[in-house]
């Protein structure tokens, strides 16, 4: 707790936490906050530039960009958090198992993960999503599977520094099973590492969600989504730049804020 207090005293960290918290509040309560319905088409007001009535202007169908951004925060955060949680759960388990049992299982596991890591996330994900069809669930699973190896590696090396301590030997001598040693004895000691990992992967995963939506493999129209909004606005960038700039800024603010939090957590 004292460590957290020290962290919050750093202005960069505090600001980043506030930005993240704002997005979470928006994602939870956007129906109360939006000035217009996110899919509501205001006839006769296509490509309205930012003004007092439409802070971020309107798009090609006359929809309020601000409302769509606020509404779009939910899908980005839900898919991002879900895929990160799944990735960390898979990666942590694999990392624990590989580090604890070592030997051939470790070799096979780590080499397979290396293979997976050799491919860029977005390339593999777009191929898989093209085959499975775009859906929120598929998006979550694909991103999780692609991110898990990174997590597994970090967890494995963290566990390696703990597994040969005498308290593990003491646990074996009282007859603890393998899973019990993994999850009761070792896991609690790497919680800090996992927290940092989670935050770092979250930023990556949100960026991946936005990228895949931009490419058309993620959230489908007319659902408001940041990546999709950038894609939809792109052809009209010359006449209505705000349609692209606003969601891009939203993505950047969230990803950068999470990254700042992750960096500070890691160095503390």
């Amino acid at each position: 707790m004292t460590a957290l207090r020290t962290l919050l005293r750093s202005p960069g960290f505090a600001f980043a936490v506030i930005v993240c918290a704002l997005w979470v509040i928006i994602a939870l309560f956007w129906p109360l906050l939006v000035p217009y319905g996110p899919t509501e088409q205001l006839l006769g007001s296509r490509y309205t530039p930012p003004s007092a009535t439409h802070w971020f202007g309107t798009d090609n169908l006359g929809r309020d960009v601000l409302s769509r951004i606020l509404a779009g925060s939910r899908s980005v955060l839900v898919v991002g958090l879900a895929s990160t949680a799944l990735a960390v759960a898979i990666g942590t388990t694999l990392g624990l198992v590989a580090a604890f049992y070592r030997g051939r299982a470790d070799e096979w596991l780590m080499r397979s993960l290396d293979l997976l890591m050799a491919f860029p996330i977005v390339v593999i994900a777009s191929v898989v999503l093209a085959m499975l069809g775009p859906s929120r669930l598929n998006l979550v699973v694909v991103i999780a599977v692609m991110l898990a190896p990174y997590n597994a590696r970090v967890v494995r090396s963290a566990v390696l520094s703990w597994r040969d301590r005498d308290f593990v030997a003491a646990a074996r001598m009282r007859g603890e099973s393998g899973p019990s040693i993994l999850f009761r004895e070792l896991l609690p000691n790497i919680v800090g590492t996992i927290n940092v990992e989670f935050t770092m992967r979250l930023a990556l995963s949100i960026f991946a969600v936005a990228t895949l939506s931009f490419l058309g493999f993620g959230i489908q129209p007319p659902t408001p989504d940041w990546g999709l909004m950038v894609a939809e606005g792109r052809p009209f960038y010359q006449i209505a730049p705000w349609v692209v700039v606003a969601p891009a800024a939203a993505i950047a603010s969230l990803v950068v804020a999470i990254n700042v939090v992750a960096q500070k957590l890691r160095s503390s």
Binding site: D166, A170, M173, R184
Partner: protein, 618 residues
């Protein structure tokens, strides 16, 4: 101040800035060392001895600073010196050897070149001349075959050899002052004996002044003419080694000496006298040792003593004449001879032709080779040997933590040669282990309550835990308080952590406890308390111990029988008295002579008692 003093430390005070405020690690320390003289600094961990050694050459951590005082090296005050001049003195005149030999060597440079570099830098010698001198130094520090040793890299040497190379580097610059900080900690006794002999030789040859920092009183007594005793950053006693250790005038020195195991003593000769462990800081207006002192009066809690002249030595105690008069500390004789272990018809532990090979192909190492021995109920067997002799592997195979390649382990007559978690609950309950490193033995993420409760739960037949009252009793049995149940391991001292580990091992009444270097990571004063505790528990529970230790005094004190291991083989076994007094094997003799050489005339004597069998010579 004597003119010939190489080093003069005056009123040195060192502070560390920490999250909790300013911590004074060294307070107003004053002493001097003359050329060719060796001065020892002894004290428990946390006494500030390493900080003092670092502060002398101004190698303090970033948050440390010299708050007051001066350090004069041949008349120059190092405290006020600019970085360049300081570097020149550190490089040319003062050499340092620190505890961990591996970190002092560059792993990517050949051993000989690291010494040759010193000659090139300091004497401006050419390549060939430097090499010649470096090989000479390798010979001087007694590395076998200096010519080929020159070409080898640090990882190709053993720990003791690496430390010799570091000492060679330190001596290559022909220093006027050599600072040794625990130079042999972690090395085998035989290696330690050689290194200390080497330092003594070199001192005689080169007239180097030596500052020797160690927790090991016996070693300091053997090497140094002068000794300073540090307690909480202060010198509490200072004087000629013989006087200080034979007639201590400070209660702390006396207490430190009293908790040592007397040479040749065994658990039947007498109980050890640990110093009371008190964490409380009495504050600046009291004697720092007051809470633990047996000579304390009201004055001690209201006034801070100076370093008084106590006739030939100096002591920071108001009552130094009383302390001197109290004489050498004694070991309390046991009033009641323990019942001899009943000769049972069945052996508790039978180890048959146990064998373990590590690695494969050409890099195979036979860690344990056909080890066979038996242990009767209620007996303590000590396993001795140098590091790498296979003692720990043997214990881990018995514990079920390492799978043997051949051989059997029988407990109470039934075969338990399989991994610990595959043994039945009765076998697991009967065989427990206490480990070497107190900081690794308890899971830092768990509370003491959780650690003990889980142990009891896993080893009970019905997997029920015990209530807090039972766990509190368990803690009391190892002299800890029930409040410690809520603590996490890092909130406890090393000694307290080891007590919890002992409580864990004894929680379900084991018949056999494996003790792997149970006290080697602890201060002497704590060591004595833990050894007493282990003896009490052993007698109360009628348990057997397999004690693994490189410290022969500890083994001699605890063990009824001895196994001597060398390169994986048991080379000698027999009753402790027989093995120690008339060793049959040449290797055992070498091992013992290394220890006898250390056993100088310090430490407690045994009080004549009705059962003690008279005084034991020390």
């Amino acid at each position: 101040m004597t003119v010939a003093e190489v080093l003069r430390v005056d009123g040195l005070t060192v502070e560390y800035r920490t999250g909790a405020g300013v911590f004074t690690a060294v307070r107003d320390v004053t002493f001097g060392i003359r050329a060719g003289e060796a001065m020892g600094l002894v004290g428990e961990s946390g006494s500030g001895k390493t900080t003092l050694g670092m502060a002398i050459v101004r190698y303090l951590a970033g948050n440390g600073r010299i708050a007051a005082g001066s350090v004069h090296y041949e008349g120059t005050d190092l405290v006020g010196l600019d970085a360049r001049a300081l570097r020149r003195i550190r490089g040319n005149d003062i050499a340092m050897v620190y505890q961990n030999p591996a970190s002092a060597l560059n792993p990517s440079l050949r051993a000989g070149e690291q010494i040759a570099e010193v000659y090139r830098e300091h004497l401006g010698l050419g390549r060939d001349a430097a090499r010649e001198r470096a090989e000479g130094m390798l010979e001087l520090v007694r590395l076998p075959d200096p010519h080929s040793a020159y070409e080898r890299y640090p990882h190709e040497f053993s720990g003791g050899q690496k430390q010799r190379i570091v000492i060679g580097m330190a001596l290559a610059m022909d220093p006027n002052l050599l600072i040794l900080d625990e130079p042999t900690t972690g090395l085998d006794v035989t290696v330690e004996a050689e290194i200390m002999e080497l330092v003594a030789d070199l001192r005689a040859q080169l007239d180097t002044a030596v500052l020797f920092i160690s927790h090991d009183i016996g070693l300091v007594a053997r090497v140094c003419e002068q000794v300073g005793v540090l307690y909480r950053g202060e010198l509490v006693e200072l004087g000629p080694t013989e006087r200080v250790f034979a007639r201590p005038t400070n209660p702390y020195t006396r207490g430190l000496l009293a908790c040592r195991i007397p040479t040749g003593a065994s658990k039947d000769t007498g109980r050890l006298r640990p110093l009371p462990q008190v964490a409380a800081d009495p504050g600046p207006d009291a004697c720092s040792f007051e809470p633990r002192c047996e000579f304390r009066t009201d004055r001690c809690s209201s006034e801070h003593p100076d370093l008084y002249d106590a006739g030939g030595q100096h002591s920071r105690c108001f009552y130094h004449p009383d302390v001197r008069r109290a004489g050498a500390p004694t070991v309390a004789a046991v009033s009641e001879r323990p019942r001899a272990a009943t000769a049972a018809s069945t052996e508790l532990l039978e180890v048959r032709e146990l064998r373990k090979v590590f690695g494969s192909g050409r890099r195979q190492i036979v860690a344990v080779d056909d080890a066979t021995f038996t242990l009767a109920p209620g007996r303590i067997v000590g396993v001795v040997g140098e590091s790498g002799s296979g003692k720990t592997t043997l214990a881990r195979m018995i514990a079920g933590l390492e799978e043997p390649d051949a051989g059997t382990v029988r407990l109470h007559g039934s075969d338990v040669t399989r991994p610990a978690h595959q043994r039945d609950v009765a076998a697991r309950r009967a065989l427990q282990m206490v480990f070497q490193h107190p900081d690794g033995t308890l899971n830092p993420a768990h509370t003491i309550r959780r650690i003990l409760r889980r142990q009891v739960q896993m080893l009970s037949d019905d997997r029920t835990g015990r209530d807090d009252a039972a766990l509190a009793d368990l803690l009391r049995s190892v002299h800890l308080e029930p409040e410690h149940l809520d603590a996490r391991p890092r909130q406890l001292s090393g000694g307290q952590q080891q007590r919890v580990a002992i409580a864990r091992a004894f929680s379900t009444g084991p018949a056999l406890v494996l003790l792997d270097e149970p006290t080697s990571a602890l201060d002497v004063s704590v060591q004595a308390a833990i050894l007493n505790l282990l003896i009490d528990l052993q007698r109360a529970e009628q348990a057997s111990y397999v004690l693994i230790s490189h410290d022969l005094a500890t083994v001699r004190y605890l063990a009824d029988d001895i196994l001597v291991m060398r390169r994986g083989e048991i080379v000698e076994q027999g009753p402790a008295a027989q093995v120690f007094d008339s060793p049959q094997e040449p290797y055992t003799r070498t091992l013992l002579s290394a220890v006898t050489a250390r056993a100088v005339d310090v430490g407690p004597v045994v009080e004549p008692g009705d059962a003690g069998g008279g005084a034991v010579s020390v």
